[in-house]
Symmetry: C2
């Protein structure tokens, strides 16, 4: 952890709206899991599903929304935080810096951060749930490159293999037919993911397919926009991190996310459903009261 | 514009929720300005302020929210779109790809995209409104680097100087005491902007100050997280783009955004107020009905 923090008079976690001067130990000391995903609406649904799962009373349900800004939607349901991270590495990196500080200030014990999201698949069936076991940046290197004081800094991106395997096994046991595989992170949805349907495209279909086939040969099964910085910040700060994504389309077959609203809803529910199975299992294992409520 | 688009059967602008098969010419053909900013709440306030400015009826006011997804908050008030872009280059790049396609499909004439936001200042008073005339990436180069098919692609980032000067002059005339200057874009709010108060920090205060002084020497007066890709995509597609940001703190003096809620609200209103003055002036110039309503 950053040693400078102890010298700060206070620490205002600006995008979350919480400060070290809030009673963070009381508010967040019991947190075991942080669940995060791109959209605020999806994270509200996760929180509502957890509230049902944990049999919260109507009074308790009214208090799960603890958002203080409109940068991130923020919920707490028992020992689980559900918080949106927006889209892309910079947005989730802001969230992770602030959430990791919050978890440390609150003296939480071994919290796990789990991202649930949507992704493009590489040679896999749409609807497949992927648990990442290795992450790559857009240069196809398994590392995170960030710019500090004007220079590139390269950081490792090893995800906790135990957590990935546990979630995978939980998915197998629950009939989700999940996949454990490599995930590529890009900083752009269109050109950066070799889509030909952005407002600009300067490569040919042949070049596109050569690139996507190369991903497949490397063991990359899906593409999203946040995994490298999640893996890097978690590894660097000693927090376990995991990523569960559902594939919306097979990029070997097209660029457009052209699925019906119904199919989209069905797919989106899968990472959430697997996540909730996993959380229940883990909380029961540690005999946490919410595991049996 | 990307020539592949004409071969597409349809084009679903996934994150906006609109398709080319919608009647985009009827829905958006009259658009003259796209105003965009990070937070959904701020863009709702812009839309509400425009609705007052343009004397919309109560019935018209009920129809300004045209959002179809919770990725971006999306409003239309007469010839002005107000839409959120989230935080960081990847998020705004998704929005810009889809908005620029929408503007083209709708046959809009010479639309201007204006980002309004908050930023850190470099040696300037908190509360100063900055109109960007040049943008730099975190390597202190005036270019945008994006990764396509696994390789770096470097693109120019020239903002339309005429629009920047017009907004600046409008700010001077309206008593905003604005500044015209260079803006740096980073992909990280903490380490990437040389803050020492993230969950990780591996440089000294001396190194931090040397870096921030170097920015100042280069004519960089503020730091935010979206300008390079906005400048790059606008230049590449021939759409005029501009950036108006208010500085929340002076990075020569600290890292924390520790201002009162009241001061924050007051600062946040400044880019919006200047923007509205500018829009009114421009719409009057072209004798647009909304300029005189």
């Amino acid at each position: 952890m950053n040693p400078n923090l102890k010298d700060l008079e206070n620490d205002f976690l600006y995008h979350l709206g919480y400060s070290r001067s809030d009673d963070l130990v009381t508010l967040f000391g019991d947190v075991k899991f942080v669940v995060t995903g791109g959209s605020g609406g999806r994270m509200r649904k996760v929180a509502e599903a957890l509230a049902e799962e944990f049999h919260l009373t109507e009074e308790e349900k009214k208090r799960i929304d603890i958002s203080r800004t409109d940068r991130f939607s923020f919920y707490k349901v028992g020992p689980v935080l559900s918080v949106s991270h927006g889209m892309g590495v910079p947005s989730i990196s802001i969230l992770l810096h602030e959430i990791i500080k919050l978890l440390k200030y609150a003296n939480t014990v071994d919290p796990i951060i789990i991202r649930i999201g949507t992704c493009g698949g590489v040679g896999i069936e749409p609807g497949t749930v992927v648990i990442s076991n290795k992450v790559y940046n857009a240069y196809l290197k398994s590392e995170h490159v960030t710019v500090i004081l004007g220079k590139s800094v390269v950081r490792p991106v090893e995800l906790d293999q135990g957590t990935a395997k546990e979630i995978f096994q939980c998915g197998v046991d629950s009939g989700f037919k999940p996949l454990l595989g490599g995930t590529m992170c890009t900083d752009d949805f269109y050109e950066g993911q070799a889509r030909m349907d952005g407002c600009i495209c300067e490569f040919s279909q042949q070049e596109q397919m050569d690139y996507i086939k190369k991903l497949q040969q490397m063991g990359i099964v899906n593409i999203e926009m946040e995994c490298t910085v999640l893996a890097s910040l978690c590894q660097k700060t000693g927090v376990k991190g995991a990523i569960i994504c559902v594939s919306l389309l097979d990029r070997m077959k097209g660029d457009q996310v052209a699925i019906s609203t119904e199919t989209y809803k069905n797919y989106q529910e899968r990472p959430r459903a697997l996540l909730i199975k996993y959380l229940r299992k883990k909380l029961q294992e540690i005999q946490h009261p919410f595991g049996s409520r």
